[in-house]
């Protein structure tokens, strides 16, 4: 962990070659939150680390959503058996670069992550009854080849 990054590790994980899946709370259709939440439930994800909010979120009070006070959360969950790490977070209001580096510090130094999947929704001109298509933007030729094997993917280079 780099010094100065407010990362809290509650339990060290025994991961050898894991994948990290990231989802943001403010996604269209709640996709990021729902998909990562589903993974956590089904694969029994256990919270093991978090990023402290003070450097990244405005802390002048709280927002109320659905009658409840909401507080920014940035949490890591480990699905040990599947070599999978799930990161659920609100989008930071400041210091994005530092925040993302904090995420990658945990991935690299505590989870031995070899690949990252960032989930999100995309608005498109399609009917709600039409089959979904997934669009993937990748940052390596290797990943492009792997995802290109699946029919439902439309893969683009970043």
């Amino acid at each position: 962990m780099n010094k100065g990054y407010p990362i809290k590790i509650y339990n060290e994980q025994e991961l050898r070659r894991s994948s990290l899946v990231l989802g943001w709370s403010e996604d269209i259709g709640n996709l990021g939150r729902k998909a990562t939440g589903y993974l956590n439930r089904k694969l029994k994800g256990r919270e093991f680390a978090e990023i402290e909010p003070e450097a990244f979120f405005p802390l002048g009070g709280v927002a109320i959503e659905g009658n409840l006070a909401r507080f920014p959360e940035s949490k890591f969950y480990a699905c040990q058996e599947y070599e999978l790490v799930v990161f659920q977070s609100d989008s930071p209001g400041a210091e994005w670069y530092k925040f993302l580096n904090s995420v990658l510090d945990v991935a690299e130094q505590h989870c031995r992550v070899k690949e990252l999947y960032i989930l999100g929704a995309m608005v498109s001109f399609s009917a709600h009854t039409a089959p979904r298509q997934l669009i993937a933007v990748v940052n390596s030729a290797e990943m492009k080849e792997v995802l290109g094997q699946y029919e439902f993917f439309f893969v683009m280079d970043s």
Partner: protein
């Protein structure tokens, strides 16, 4: 003077450190909610919990409303400052927390007057929640004094604006699906008139 940002976060955590030390399970914060109400009506208490499980309990308090009961809010809003931050940090640290906010009429918000009526409403709810009987007689006495000063101020408001404000006597938030006694347009006009009045008075204190 208010703590802000990182300092406020640290302060909220310090408060909860003490709460933890004394084995507190729940945190209550309180404040004012500026509302379209009249000073002759009993102020309601807006309650914001930090956990879904507290909602049934809050609904049983009486004279208490959730954000979704307030017309036009849709269950959304903000609580600024430590009152709000403590709810959030409590959630993060595993404490139950409820913010109780007493309604203060919109036209009194800029005045250097205390409003014991709202304090009383909040304390009534708090005593129900904590199951502690609190003698509020002293607060009634303060309320009577404050009421006289508020009434003096109220009579100084130009008749036309006062006429608009008098309509707030009948405002309710209980049935958000039904049309209220004042329309949105009227609500806007009342706010504009009140602002104009305070500007003329030189800021209104």
């Amino acid at each position: 003077m208010y703590a802000e940002g990182k300092k406020a976060y640290q302060m909220a955590n310090l408060v909860l450190d003490v709460a933890e030390k004394f084995k507190c399970r729940r945190v209550y914060t309180s404040g004012a909610a500026v509302a379209l109400t009249h000073h002759t009506t009993k102020p309601r208490v807006w309650a914001v919990p930090n956990s879904e499980s507290l909602i049934p309990e809050i609904k049983g308090y009486g004279n208490t409303i959730l954000m979704s009961d307030i017309e036009g809010r849709g269950g959304h809003g903000n609580i600024t400052g430590l009152n709000g931050l403590l709810l959030g940090v409590s959630k993060k640290r595993g404490f139950e927390a409820i913010c109780l906010m007493g309604e203060i009429p919109v036209y009194l918000q800029g005045l250097p007057l205390s409003y014991p009526k709202a304090s009383k409403s909040v304390l009534e709810v708090l005593s129900r929640s904590l199951k502690i009987e609190i003698n509020l007689d002293k607060l009634d006495e303060l309320d009577r004094k404050a009421e006289r000063r508020i009434e003096e101020f109220y009579q100084q408001i130009p008749l036309e604006i006062r006429g608009q404000l008098d309509r707030l006597r009948h405002v309710t938030y209980a049935q958000p699906d039904e049309p209220g006694p004042i329309t949105e347009e009227e609500e806007k006009r009342i706010m504009e008139d009140v602002e104009k009045f305070f500007k003329k008075r030189g800021g209104g204190g």
